[in-house]
C-alpha cells in the first residue's frame, strides 16, 4: 500500500490527472441513474430495485440500434422515448398497485421486476457479454500517459445537459412544479387539484428514460450483460442514500465522490477494494448523519 502511495504522489503524479478525469467520467454516468432513482424515491416513496436493469435495458436498445446501423448517440432520442413508454407500461401494470402499500411491497415488486427484466433480456440477447463501439477518437496527454476517450467526454457533456434540462423542467414548468408539490405532500397536492396518479406515472416514465440514456453511455464505455444491472442498482442506491433525497447537487456531488473513491481505492488498496470502498463511503455518511441527528432526536424526546 505504501509503495502505491509513493507511486501516486512521488514517482508518477501524472497518474492523478488520469484518475481524477476517470472519476468524473464514471461519476457523470452514475449521476444520471442516481438522479432518476432519487426522483422516484422522493416523489413516490418507491425504492426501485430494478433501477440497474432499466440502465442495462437502455444499453441493449443502444446495442440493437448499433446493429441496425445507427450510432447510439443518434438513436438516443428514440431510445429515450421507447424507455419513457416502457416506464408508463411498468407504472400502469406494477408500480401503481404498490405505491400506497408499505415499503416491503414496493421492494418485493421491483425486485420481481428486476428478475423478470434480466431473464427477458437474457432470452432476447443471450448471456454473452456485449459491447458497442463508439468509433470515437481517444485523446492523449502527457506523452500518452493520460488518455481521454472522446466517448467519455461526450458522455459527460450529455449527462450535464440532461441534468440541467431536468432541473429546469422541475423548477420552471407547471408539470415540474406539480411533481415537486406531490413529493412534498401528496394529499395536499390532490386537494389542490393535481392529478397525483398522472404525476407518479410521469415521474416513473421520466426515470425510465433517464436510465435509458445512462444505459446508452454504459454500452459505449463498459460492457453489457443481462445480469449486470445489480451493479448499477447498488451504486445508485449508495449515492442516493448518502446524498439524501431530493438533493440534486448532493446526488451529482456524491456521484463524483464515488467515482474518485473507487479510482483511488483501486490504486492504493488494490482493485479488490474498489467497490467495497464505495460501500464504506455510504457507511461513513450514514454514521455521520446518525451522530448529527442525535441532537435533534433528543429534542423530540
Amino acid at each position: 500500500m505504501l509503495d502505491n502511495l509513493q507511486l501516486l504522489f512521488v514517482y508518477a503524479p501524472v497518474m492523478n490527472v488520469q484518475m481524477i478525469l476517470d472519476g468524473i467520467f464514471i461519476g457523470a454516468v452514475f449521476a444520471l441513474a442516481a438522479y432518476g432513482l432519487a426522483l422516484v424515491w422522493g416523489v413516490m416513496n418507491v425504492k426501485n430495485l430494478a433501477q440497474g436493469d432499466f440502465v442495462i435495458m437502455g444499453g441493449y436498445l443502444a446495442f440493437t440500434a448499433n446493429n441496425m446501423g445507427f450510432h447510439p448517440i443518434l438513436a438516443l432520442p428514440l431510445i429515450a422515448v421507447v424507455m419513457y413508454f416502457y416506464g408508463v407500461v411498468v407504472y400502469k401494470l406494477v408500480i401503481r398497485r404498490v405505491i400506497d402499500n408499505d415499503m416491503f411491497v414496493s421492494l418485493l415488486a421491483t425486485f420481481g421486476l428486476s428478475l423478470f427484466m434480466q431473464q427477458v433480456m437474457n432470452l432476447i440477447y443471450g448471456p454473452e457479454v456485449q459491447t458497442v463501439d463508439s468509433h470515437m477518437h481517444v485523446m492523449t496527454m502527457f506523452d500518452e500517459f493520460v488518455t481521454v476517450p472522446m466517448v467519455k467526454v461526450v458522455s459527460l457533456v450529455l449527462a450535464g445537459v440532461f441534468a440541467t434540462a431536468i432541473v429546469m423542467f422541475m423548477t420552471k414548468s407547471r408539470t415540474g412544479q406539480a411533481i415537486r408539490a406531490t413529493a412534498q405532500d401528496a394529499r395536499a397536492a390532490r386537494v389542490l387539484g393535481i392529478d397525483t396518479d398522472k404525476v407518479y406515472m410521469l415521474t416513473f416514465a421520466l426515470n425510465s428514460a433517464i436510465c435509458g440514456i445512462a444505459g446508452i453511455l454504459v454500452s459505449m464505455i463498459w460492457v453489457l450483460q443481462p445480469f449486470y444491472g445489480i451493479v448499477y442498482s447498488l451504486r445508485t442506491f449508495a449515492i442516493v442514500t448518502a446524498a439524501g433525497l431530493g438533493n440534486l447537487p448532493g446526488v451529482i456531488g456524491m456521484s463524483f465522490v464515488l467515482g474518485w473513491v473507487e479510482q483511488y481505492a483501486g490504486i492504493i488498496a488494490g482493485a479488490e477494494w474498489q467497490i467495497a470502498a464505495a460501500v464504506f463511503v455510504l457507511i461513513g455518511v450514514l454514521l455521520w448523519r446518525q451522530i448529527q441527528m442525535r441532537r435533534l432526536r433528543q429534542v423530540v424526546r
Partner: protein, 410 residues
C-alpha cells in the same frame, strides 16, 4: 364453469404423475445406457451450456450410429437425460439428486463450469455415481479426494502459467534474462481465476520474475482502468488478465482506450468474448490459451483426428461454421471416455466402471486422456494461440512462433 376447474386440475395432476412414473428409468433399459446430465440451458451460462450439450449429442449420435457400446458381447445404445439447472448451483445439485434418486440414473456427464461442477460432485460422490466432466477446470475440484469424478480437460493452473514459460524461453533466445521481466496482472476474485493466478505465481517464482501489480477484480466490476493506470506508471513487460468473457471484453476495450503497449499480453477467454471481432486493434498480438486445437495430430477410430471432427461437426451443426468452441470438443471427448470405460469394464457395475475410468489411457481427437489419482487429465497440455492483425488465431507451439513485442496498432 368454475366447478370444472378442480376436475381439470385433477386431470392435469394425474397426467403429471403418470409422466413422472413413466419417466423413472433404470441405468440400462433394454439395450440403452441412460446417462444423466444437469446442464445450464437457461441463465448466464446458457451459451456454453448449449455448446456442451451439442458436444455430448454429437458424440452420442456417432457412437449409436457406429455400433454402439459393446458390453458382454451385446451392443448398447447411449441416451442422455438432460435437466436445465438454470445456471444456479443449488438447482444443479437438486437436479442431480433427482436424476440419481428418482430417475435411477447410474452414470453422469458433467455440467458446465467449475461452479456447477462443485455443486454436482458432492452428490454424485455420495451415491457413488461415476461422472465424467468436461467443463469444470478449477484445480480446487481435484483436491477434495473425489473418487468418482473424472475430467478430460486441463486444469485451471495451466491457463496462463505456460505463457510465462514461452516468454521466458523467448527472452533467453534474445539473450536476456527472464529474471529481468516484470509482470502486471489482474484476476477476477473467483475460484477459477484465482487458480489461474496460483499457477502463474509458481512459474514466476521459478524464473524469479518480479510481480509488480497483482490485482483481484471484484466479480461485479466491469472497469479495470485503475489497474491499467497503475500499469502505465510501472510499465511491466507482461500483462496477464483472467476474468471469463467479461474480463476479456473489459480488458480488450480498456487496453485500446488507454493505449497499453506492453510487449506481451495474455488473456483467458478471448475467443469466447470475441475480442478479435469487437476490438481488432487491441486484439492484435494477444496470447490466448485454449483447451483444444483443430490441427492436433492425435486420433481415434470413431472421430479420427481434430481436423476431421471439426469438419464433420460443422456439417452436423452448420451454425458453428465460424469455429467450434473447445467446450464442445471436450464434451464429445467426455462421451468417448465413457464408452471406452464401459467396454473395458465389460459391465455396468458402477465400481467396475469407475475403476475402468481411472485406468483410462487413450488418444482422442481432443488430445490424450489419462487421469491422475485425483481425476484430472494429466496427459493433455494447454495450447496457446496468438491473435494476428487480420483477426485470425495462430497456433503457438514454440516461443519462436510468437510475435513479441506485440505490435499495437493504436
Amino acid at each position: 364453469m368454475y366447478n370444472k376447474l378442480p376436475i381439470a386440475l385433477g386431470a392435469a395432476l394425474a397426467v403429471g404423475v403418470a409422466g413422472f412414473a413413466g419417466g423413472a428409468m433404470a441405468k440400462v433399459e433394454g439395450d440403452t445406457i441412460i446417462i444423466g446430465s444437469s446442464l445450464s440451458l437457461t441463465g448466464k451460462y446458457s451459451t456454453n451450456g448449449f455448446h456442451t450439450q451439442k458436444g455430448y449429442d454429437f458424440a452420442v449420435k456417432r457412437i449409436n450410429d457406429t455400433g454402439g457400446v459393446k458390453v458382454g458381447g451385446k451392443s448398447y445404445k447411449m441416451k442422455i437425460v438432460y435437466y436445465d439447472d438454470e445456471s444456479t448451483p443449488s438447482r444443479a445439485s437438486q437436479l442431480t439428486e433427482r436424476l440419481v434418486k428418482q430417475d435411477g440414473v447410474e452414470f453422469m456427464l458433467g455440467p458446465y463450469s467449475t461452479t456447477m461442477t462443485k455443486a454436482v460432485a458432492p452428490v454424485t460422490e455420495k451415491y457413488g455415481v461415476p461422472m465424467v466432466e468436461a467443463e469444470g477446470a478449477s484445480r480446487s475440484l481435484f483436491t477434495q479426494g473425489y473418487k468418482y469424478m473424472f475430467a478430460v480437460l486441463s486444469t485451471s493452473e495451466y491457463y496462463l502459467a505456460p505463457v510465462l514459460d514461452l516468454i521466458a524461453q523467448r527472452s533467453k533466445d534474445d539473450g536476456k534474462s527472464p529474471s529481468d521481466l516484470r509482470i502486471g496482472m489482474a484476476f477476477e476474485n473467483d475460484g477459477f481465476s484465482l487458480d489461474v493466478r496460483a499457477g502463474v505465481l509458481d512459474v514466476a517464482k521459478k524464473y524469479n520474475m518480479k510481480i509488480v501489480i497483482d490485482d483481484k477484480l471484484p466479480a461485479d466490476l466491469s472497469d479495470m482502468s485503475a489497474t491499467l493506470t497503475k500499469f502505465k506508471a510501472l510499465k511491466p513487460d507482461i500483462l496477464l488478465v483472467s476474468g471469463h468473457s467479461k474480463g476479456a471484453a473489459t480488458a480488450a476495450r480498456q487496453i485500446e482506450e488507454m493505449k497499453i503497449r506492453a510487449p506481451a499480453i495474455a488473456i483467458t477467454h478471448c475467443e469466447a468474448a470475441k475480442v478479435h471481432v469487437k476490438f481488432p486493434k487491441s486484439a492484435n498480438g494477444l496470447l490466448c490459451p485454449t483447451q483444444w486445437l483443430t490441427n492436433l495430430p492425435n486420433s481415434e477410430p470413431l472421430f479420427g483426428d481434430a481436423q476431421k471432427y471439426d469438419k464433420e461437426f460443422k456439417v452436423a451443426y452448420p451454425e458453428y461454421n465460424t469455429g467450434i468452441p473447445y467446450q464442445t470438443a471436450q464434451a464429445s471427448a467426455a462421451v468417448l471416455v465413457f464408452k471406452d470405460a464401459f467396454e473395458r469394464a465389460n459391465s455396468f457395475d458402477q465400481d467396475k466402471v469407475r475403476d475402468a475410468l481411472s485406468a483410462t489411457d487413450m488418444d482422442t481427437f481432443y488430445g490424450p486422456v489419462k487421469f491422475s489419482e485425483a481425476g484430472n487429465n494429466i496427459a493433455k497440455p494447454m495450447f496457446y494461440r496468438q491473435i494476428q492483425a487480420d483477426g485470425s488465431y495462430k497456433n503457438i507451439v514454440s516461443s519462436k512462433d510468437m510475435t513479441m513485442p506485440r505490435k499495437a496498432a493504436y
